[in-house]
């Protein structure tokens, strides 16, 4: 007991769940800048539908943490208007599936305004909430919106994986003067990750637009975002036993995409597999393929890029069907071996 305590004190690391990391980020930014406030369904007195905003209403009160009625289009528009008039709102969608009701406000009122006004009118807003598949919530509650939002100029689209990502990227998003779509993942909320001492600081931010190499490797590059970064690392561990060393890149930001990091890796490994939970057509992987083809790394590829994606169907309910609708670790391993022709 004493030995582990000494270890803890020496390394300075703690384990923090993604939920708590997001909570810390919002707490710190609310404290730092009085223009920051949070609105959404159940964010205040319920402590958040997924408890991400736990304790914030108690600490900051009605003015800064606002419960809204079930009116996505209305409250998203209100949040955008507040951002136009000098505040820095965090607008929570209970899940991004519900953001479809409000998507006009996100795209036409938030994303395009800086451009249409030639820089006169900024919209410093963060739209955040869980994105993509959960567990057993079926078709209407499981869609991944990364590709939809990343399609649009004027938006920044961020997709954290672990707790450090969640905290550092959310803080950066809140401090950014532009509309940011912050895609969380419900299945990751309860997962604990190590957080370095640096990441525990109130000033810790991670820059938007920069990917991270989570694992170095020489044989093949795996690029992913959000939950599937973990799947890639698990697949890499299995493949390492067979002598295949995967380089795993965590995109962290979907738009603007850090294509340079992917290219640098591909120029080293000559093989690329993209992994995402969303549907294949017009998706994140499709964009990566196009960008690699257009750039200098294309000449370094020894085989075409492989996309590992969700199955091209609405999400089924039954567990066995749901499990087979999303990339599993064995799918990644299979795709790596096919790409390497082993």
């Amino acid at each position: 007991m004493a030995a582990s305590l000494r270890c803890f004190l020496r390394s300075g690391k703690v384990t923090v769940t993604v939920r708590d990391a997001l909570n810390q980020a919002m707490d710190e930014e609310l404290e730092r800048d009085e223009r920051v406030f949070l609105l959404g369904e159940e964010v205040a007195q319920y402590d958040g539908a997924y408890k991400v905003s736990r304790g914030l209403w108690k600490k900051y009160g009605d003015k800064r943490i606002i419960d809204t009625p079930i009116s996505e289009m209305g409250f998203a528009g209100i949040a955008v208007g507040a951002a136009m008039a000098g505040l820095r709102p965090i607008c929570e969608f209970m899940t991004f599936n519900f953001s479809m009701q409000a998507i006009d406000q996100v795209i036409n009122s938030a994303a395009k305004t800086c451009y249409m006004s030639a820089g006169l009118q900024a919209v410093p807003i963060v739209f955040r909430g869980p994105n993509g598949a959960s567990a057993g919530v079926a078709a209407q509650h499981s869609q991944c919106f990364a590709a939809w939002y990343a399609h649009c100029p004027g938006l920044k689209v961020v997709s954290p994986w672990n707790s450090e990502d969640a905290k550092g990227l959310l803080k950066s998003s809140i401090r950014d003067d532009n509309p940011v779509v912050f895609l969380e993942n419900e299945l990751l909320y309860g997962v604990p990750f190590e957080m370095s001492e640096e990441a525990q600081s109130k000033d810790f931010t991670i820059p938007i637009g920069k990917a991270k190499v989570e694992r170095a490797g020489s044989h093949i590059t795996l690029v992913s975002h959000s939950r599937y970064v973990g799947h890639c690392l698990d697949a890499a561990a299995v493949l390492a036993k067979e002598g295949i060393e995967c380089e795993v890149i965590n995109l962290r930001t979907i738009r603007p995409m850090d294509v340079e990091s992917i290219e640098a890796s591909v120029m080293k490994t000559n093989h690329l597999v993209t992994v995402e939970g969303g549907w294949p057509q017009f998706g994140v992987g499709a964009e990566i393929c196009a960008r690699i083809m257009e750039g200098s790394a294309f000449n370094y590829l020894d085989s075409p890029v492989t996309r590992v994606t969700g199955v091209d169907i609405p999400m089924p309910y039954a567990k066995i069907l749901e499990d087979h609708s999303l990339p599993q670790i064995k799918d990644i391993i299979f795709s790596v071996k096919k790409t390497l022709n082993v």
Binding site: G74, G77, M84, A85, S117, G119
Partner: protein, 361 residues
């Protein structure tokens, strides 16, 4: 005996006018039935409305010459709304409207030059040519919004920012009779009332949503009642004094912390919905003409002032000439000027031996 020409002191400096009573919803009392107008105010309102009128008519011409492209929604006929509202709020208050926005862009402080430059896609435009007709912005003016009804939640959000910052400012949020049936309006009404946001929701009811008359679009055309639990007033939108008094009343309501209020301005647009719409397939020319002769906002103000000896016909003409200078192309009389610097006037030959033109420095 010295003959004294008509001087400034001859005019009535101030007069009181009867204005139409407003219909009320969820209110015991409404705006006053009389409005005071000073000479200076009258001339200023006239100038504002006439400027908007001339600017819109010029935009019509420029559009037909293909110098303005895309969408162009003109405001002529509705000038009393923009002028009356601006007369009753502070420059530090906020305003947001939909796409029929040129009038408000002007009343909120953008120059004619910057508006016309934006409409014609020039770098000197208020949005550097990136926005166009529907996307012009200024401090405390949030456009100019292309998606019908989307500006209403935005306006409620601006009001929330005013409340949050405790600055005693309010937001005027405008929409049309067509947008009045958008669901997001009712979401905004609900939240604005719940949180007592300082928001004046104003429906500019010009009787037609594009080609659809109000009777064909709305189960209830009492737009001032549509806020349900939010008090409302229905206002004669062709009378600038009526609009001013009603908006003052609404502003007081908001600033006193009572929450939002809905105003319906009954107004009319002379042009079609946009420059692509002739505007006569769904309404008669007689109807348009009748409004022009009986209810034109600029004529009504002018007649009021003249019949009360508050200004002279010449003064109004001077204002008209001055406005034209800013909006119109150069007059033909200026054709030969500025050949020389600091020179006495000279005669210039025209296109033929009998055409003698004049040039001044």
């Amino acid at each position: 005996r010295v003959v004294v020409s008509r001087s400034f002191a001859d005019f009535t400096p101030q007069a009181t006018f009867d204005i139409k009573k407003c219909d009320l919803h969820q209110l015991e009392e409404g705006p006053p039935l009389k409005a005071e107008l000073t000479r200076d105010q009258g001339l200023q309102y006239y100038r504002t409305m006439q400027t908007v009128r001339r600017m819109e008519l010029k935009a019509d011409q420029l559009y037909k010459q293909k110098i303005i492209r895309g969408f162009c929604h003109l405001y002529d006929g509705q000038e009393a709304c923009a002028a009356g509202i601006e007369a009753s709020i502070n420059p530090t208050d906020h305003l947001i409207t939909a796409y029929r926005a040129h009038g408000y862009t002007y009343t909120r402080g953008v120059s004619i030059k910057e508006i016309l430059a934006e409409l014609t896609g020039r770098k000197g435009g208020v949005a550097k040519g990136k926005g166009g007709s529907m996307h012009m912005y200024a401090p405390h003016f949030y456009g100019g919004n292309g998606i019908v009804g989307a500006q209403v939640p935005l306006g409620a959000g601006i009001a929330l920012a005013c409340q949050y910052q405790g600055n005693n400012q309010l937001c005027v949020t405008l929409y049309g009779d067509g947008a009045a049936n958008q669901g997001q309006l009712f979401e905004s009404f609900n939240m604005a009332a719940l949180w007592k946001l300082p928001c004046i929701f104003i429906c500019e009811n010009n009787k037609y949503g594009m080609g659809t008359s109000v009777e064909r679009a709305s189960a209830s055309i009492d737009y001032y009642k549509r806020g349900d639990f939010i008090p409302g007033i229905r206002v004669d939108g062709m009378d600038v004094l009526c609009v001013r008094e009603a908006t003052k009343f609404a502003a007081d309501h908001c600033r006193s912390g009572k929450g939002p209020i809905v105003m319906e301005l009954q107004t009319y647009r002379y042009h079609g919905h946009s420059m692509s719409d002739p505007g006569v397939s769904y309404r008669t020319r007689e109807e348009i003409q009748e409004v022009r002769t009986k209810s034109d906002p600029i004529s009504m103000l002018k007649e009021r002032m003249l019949s009360n000896n508050m200004a002279s016909v010449e003064e109004f003409k001077e204002i008209d000439v001055d406005i034209r200078k800013q909006v119109e192309e150069p007059p033909l009389e200026d054709l030969c000027n500025h050949i020389f610097y600091n020179n006495p006037p000279l005669e210039v030959r025209g296109t033929n031996p009998w055409s003698k033109l004049k040039s001044v420095s």
